[in-house]
Symmetry: C2
Subunit: 222 residues, 2 copies
């Protein structure tokens, strides 16, 4: 069975890549910049998206796609309460989003009326790394209480991302976390990657992140 397993996985990935290309074409022809946010459960993806909406919504039309393993709309409801359209994808227990799921979500969004589409992936530091969604940028939200060794233990997720957000920096006084060791791990995997230290709780650092994201959106539009 192991010998049959690898080619099957490769075929699934190649089908996924074709669907990712379709997603990218649809996004580009609608003029939408799309961002994939990955993180472990509880790192603060949803809070980061809410802060991002707060920072950018006066100037940009934003939509959100929420990936969940179960049919709960906790996060999607928060997005709608924040005034943006949101579509929930229930993976039915699956550990990541794929390009087909995202493409299906497009049919429930008015892409022509968006500048920015934020995709919140399933909370998982392993599986989402493998599946290209066709978006323009992928980022990881890490968080201080997860510990400073995560880049060393889950290297695949950090390779090739466009930015790293370190959230919950307000907890630095209360937990053991060596910022230099963490940063070094990220740099080894992704030299020079954009790096933001934020706290969704206090608002610290959100402006710097918003400046970066605004520039990304505008450079694609220009």
């Amino acid at each position: 069975m192991p010998s049959a397993h690898v080619p099957i996985v490769e075929r699934i990935l190649s089908a996924n890549d074709r669907l990712a290309e379709q997603n990218r074409s649809l996004l580009d022809s609608a003029g939408v910049f799309a961002l994939n946010i990955m993180a472990s459960p509880g790192a603060g993806k949803t809070s980061t998206i809410l802060e991002t909406i707060r920072a950018l919504s006066p100037n940009f039309k934003i939509g959100v796609v929420e990936g969940d393993t179960a049919p709960v709309t906790i996060d999607a409801d928060k997005m709608v309460a924040a005034g943006v359209p949101a579509v929930q994808i229930n993976t039915g227990g699956g550990c990541h989003l794929d390009a087909g799921m995202l493409g299906n979500a497009f049919s429930q969004l008015d892409l022509q009326n968006l500048d920015l589409l934020i995709v919140e992936n399933v909370g998982n530091l392993v599986c989402p790394a493998t599946f290209n969604l066709g978006v323009h940028s992928s980022i990881v939200v890490a968080s201080v209480p997860e510990g400073d060794d995560k880049p060393y233990k889950y290297p695949k997720i950090y390779r090739g991302i466009d930015a790293l957000i370190l959230n919950k920096i307000d907890l630095l006084p209360y937990v053991p976390f060596n910022p230099d060791y963490f940063r070094q791990g990220i740099e080894l995997l992704n030299p020079g990657v954009s790096f933001f230290r934020i706290s969704c709780r206090t608002g610290e650092g959100i402006d710097d992140w918003a400046v970066w994201l605004r520039a990304q959106i505008q450079s694609r539009k220009g």
Copy 2:
């Protein structure tokens, strides 16, 4: 392709279940009680194991199997430093341990000379739930900064576990977390499950957890 996918997954799981039965036989004939610890990355699996070793090692011979997605021995080194034999399983990017991987690790352990084998699964709230390892008990370590909504978002991992440890309770004053809402989510999925509130940082609650685990080990031996 989707129509071919499900039967293949079923065949993998059935092969896994056979290997899990083999693991259980080996453990039982050696008189070893085995515990599978699941959690998201950074919830404190490793710290919980170290505290457990501290509490139980005067009376029990303990071994540890460390599941990692990468060839790093950060956690296994900590176990050896704590004075217990440890075997690292590198899943090669895989998102969970399976029974075959655990069975392979047995060959590097002197099972006859152990009372308790602790298996630290890959940090992931989705994939490890599906793969029976053949151990006697499975638990989840949750942590306060992950947030109180995780049982609602990742229900599969909490169903059928034998105990839930809520770690990092020392951070309750600093983060939004409703203990009643969290507990209610756990109870809905697993009514009456044993529940421990601990802080590996302050040592709070470790004794209660150790009492429970000691009873589990002894009841299997008896």
